[in-house]
Symmetry: C2
């Protein structure tokens, strides 16, 4: 069955459940803080746009193990020696932790926690996989969309990539994330229905090919969709198709070019449309577009009003994975607080609960981020992590997608040009540093671990 609950406790890696069994069986009682962040930017990325929080919170509030799911685990060889106590725990399982997170559409950088979970360690562990998969993916797509939208310099970008997405549900979520990243809308109807995103699209080559004559295909479509018809003109010959439409004397809303020399064709089509006074008929382009091709088309003088972008957007094809990780940074056990830091060769994780402070300079431009301990205070800066769940209860209203999209577009505007422009894409042009207290804490933890290793 393709239908499923997105709240199942089994939507996780097996080791989360074996570790959970381990904590329950040994009576290991601790409150852990995990932070979710990236160590490095993917290739060709100079910033990231946060997305996916709404789906993450919906999961955290509703994650459950059904009787059937627990029975599956009881039959699993890994749990052969596990007592009933653990399965009872799963039957009662609720996520009751505190969560702080960046709002969707917020721009962020490596090392900055996108989300922070403080909860009984077993709970914090079970939810890891879902949180990573959810925030990872939508952030990846929103960040790619922001690049494409920047390259389009104010022209509309519509997400067209469901068919090339990583499964149908991935297509729906990609449409959501692309909208946060600044797209005008999507072709995905479910994304329109579920999230209220504007949806676009009119006809495919098959409509043209199914009719005996291209002209008949255009005429019928214009009759049925007098206000919305964007006619696809490249099935046989772009210029012949445009001449047929002009000869019919019936003005479409727009025309779409999906192949061929988009720059030259768009210039020719614009001139012909203008010659007959159809200055408001839009030219829409699609077909393996991405930020580089859009940039090149516009630099080459293409007369295109809107872009339909598919595969590049729905899969972030040039950088299809984001190394989001979830690291233990603090452990409270028996009244003591331990700062945890992983010190395994070359992979340093700063310990302690963190906050990200963003400073703005003259003209409202962002000037610097400081990653600090939660209790540090920088009154002149904006604190990017806000409380979203307290003891498992939601304290943040549902994401307003339009607001998330504006936040992202505003971020593009307030970051330095050299960071945001896909041609320069210079992450180093925006300073992000750790507070001196965090650096001192890391040194302290490092010394403690080295001492322990010598024993």
């Amino acid at each position: 069955m393709n239908s499923y609950s997105g709240h199942s406790g089994l939507l996780t890696d097996l080791y989360q459940l074996t570790m959970a069994a381990g904590y329950i069986e040994t009576g290991f009682d601790a409150r852990a803080t995990f932070e979710l962040f990236v160590r490095n930017l993917p290739p060709r990325r100079s910033y990231l746009a946060a997305a996916g929080l709404e789906q993450a919170l919906d999961y955290l509030q509703n994650v459950r193990f059904t009787a059937d799911e627990i029975a599956y685990l009881q039959r699993h060889p890994a749990f052969r020696n596990i007592s009933a106590q653990f399965f009872d725990y799963l039957a009662q399982f609720r996520f009751a932790g505190d969560v702080w997170a960046m709002l969707e559409g917020t721009m962020f950088f490596p090392g900055e926690p996108l989300l922070r979970v403080t909860a009984p360690i077993t709970q914090a562990q079970i939810v890891e996989t879902y949180l990573l998969a959810t925030l990872n993916f939508q952030t990846l797509i929103a960040s790619k969309a922001a690049r494409v939208v920047t390259a389009a310099r104010g022209r509309n970008v519509i997400e067209f990539g469901t068919r090339r997405a990583h499964g149908i549900e991935s297509g729906v979520l990609a449409a959501r994330a692309a909208y946060i990243g600044g797209c005008q809308g999507t072709s995905n109807v479910m994304a329109g229905h579920r999230f209220g995103i504007p949806t676009f699209g009119t006809q495919a080559h098959s409509w043209i090919m199914a009719h005996h004559e291209e002209e008949e295909a255009f005429r019928k479509f214009l009759e049925i969709f007098p206000d919305h018809a964007v006619l696809l003109v490249d099935t046989y010959d772009v210029r012949a198709a445009v001449e047929k439409i002009i000869a019919m004397g019936r003005k479409p809303r727009g025309v779409r070019l999906d192949s061929g020399d988009l720059a030259a064709d768009s210039v020719w089509v614009r001139r012909r449309l203008d010659e007959v006074g159809w200055n408001d008929v839009e030219i829409f382009a699609s077909g393996d577009l991405d930020e580089d091709r859009i940039e090149a088309l516009l630099a080459g003088g293409a007369r295109i009003d809107g872009f339909g972008v598919g595969t590049a957007l729905s899969t972030s094809a040039d950088a299809p994975a984001l190394g989001v990780i979830y690291k233990l940074v603090e452990l409270e056990r028996g009244g003591e607080v331990h700062n945890a830091a992983k010190l395994s060769r070359a992979k340093i994780t700063y310990p302690g609960r963190k906050q990200v402070y963003r400073f703005a300079g003259a003209g409202g431009k962002f000037s610097e981020d400081i990653i600090a301990l939660e209790e540090e205070r920088f009154p002149e800066a904006e604190a990017l992590l806000v409380p979203v769940l307290r003891a498992g209860q939601r304290v943040l209203p549902a994401t307003d997608l339009g607001e998330a999209r504006r936040r992202c577009l505003e971020g593009l505007d307030r970051l330095p040009e050299r960071v945001v422009d896909p041609r320069t894409g210079d992450a180093a042009a925006y300073p992000v540093r750790y507070s001196s207290r965090l650096d001192a804490l890391l040194d302290e933890v490092r010394r403690r671990v080295e001492r322990a290793a010598r024993i």
Copy 2:
């Protein structure tokens, strides 16, 4: 809400529904055949392994438009002038077409239809997007998995990539596809529950870090999981960790290396384990692995028994999209049959309903594929497309995943070595050609379209 029905008619692109409205409104009554195939292989791919059919068929049998979904479309500006007839059509919508497809795990090549739909054109159009997204993705992952499994030369490969997949549901389906592609199992528990795939995994760095001493973390885990504990030894220092385990005198099932010099560490660990007579303790490796790193590790003498592969498998990171397309190849209307072919610049689609015939030579090795018209007969060859739905009713039993996996592994065995070896990856080493009747039909359609264009 994260829960959803994977059978909604809204899981499609808007233009499928505007074209559907167009066909209904104009009383365009035709039976269309669409074929789903790829024009080209993605970078570094020399064959593809079919996957995703089960989810595609489940959708085709169950796709519906709910009242709520139809009300959404009625409010949509694109459908402002559309009559009640169309919305009534959607309320009654059932897919009642015929479908032929390649069984999951079948190896295939560019130009070969992976699936063929013959149905009233409106139905065939509405289901396009879902079919593409579903077959596209799972085929992409199964094909990547087959490369990784080949590189591992008989050692186990476990799919570990849910956290980096394109959303949580994508992670579940990636696990399924990776299993078809030859993996031994997955870390994804839902994939185990839903599809019966073996699941693996024991502990993460956080388990080690949460305990005061690494030794305590190991000891507790061994007590709870005496038969299944694979201990993670790279949190602080691999060799020190292995010495601690040996000193405890309690044999784990295996150890896992997740960072550092996997080749050198595995050789050292193997020697130490063998010295104490623990020859059956397995060494498992993970951490940004793919077919290239596995190949290099084994070539470099690494002593690794199993590989956990994450991002590379769940996202097919080096080639994250598959250009699966769905093209109109035939139209029956008013008793006449028209062969359709798209002749727009450089994108040729062969017309007519096709079948793929696979020939085998001495020793059972595959020798050649011929893409032919359905009615052509090659008795000595295997016909790869089999009937799966007749008038919307399933005629194929549910996919047996184990059988699909064996079919893929057998395909790897029967294709030429130069095609299958990831180091050579030479697609040209396997001949695929069109039948002479298909070539003749293409010429005929080409001449007809050129005549029509001159009129």
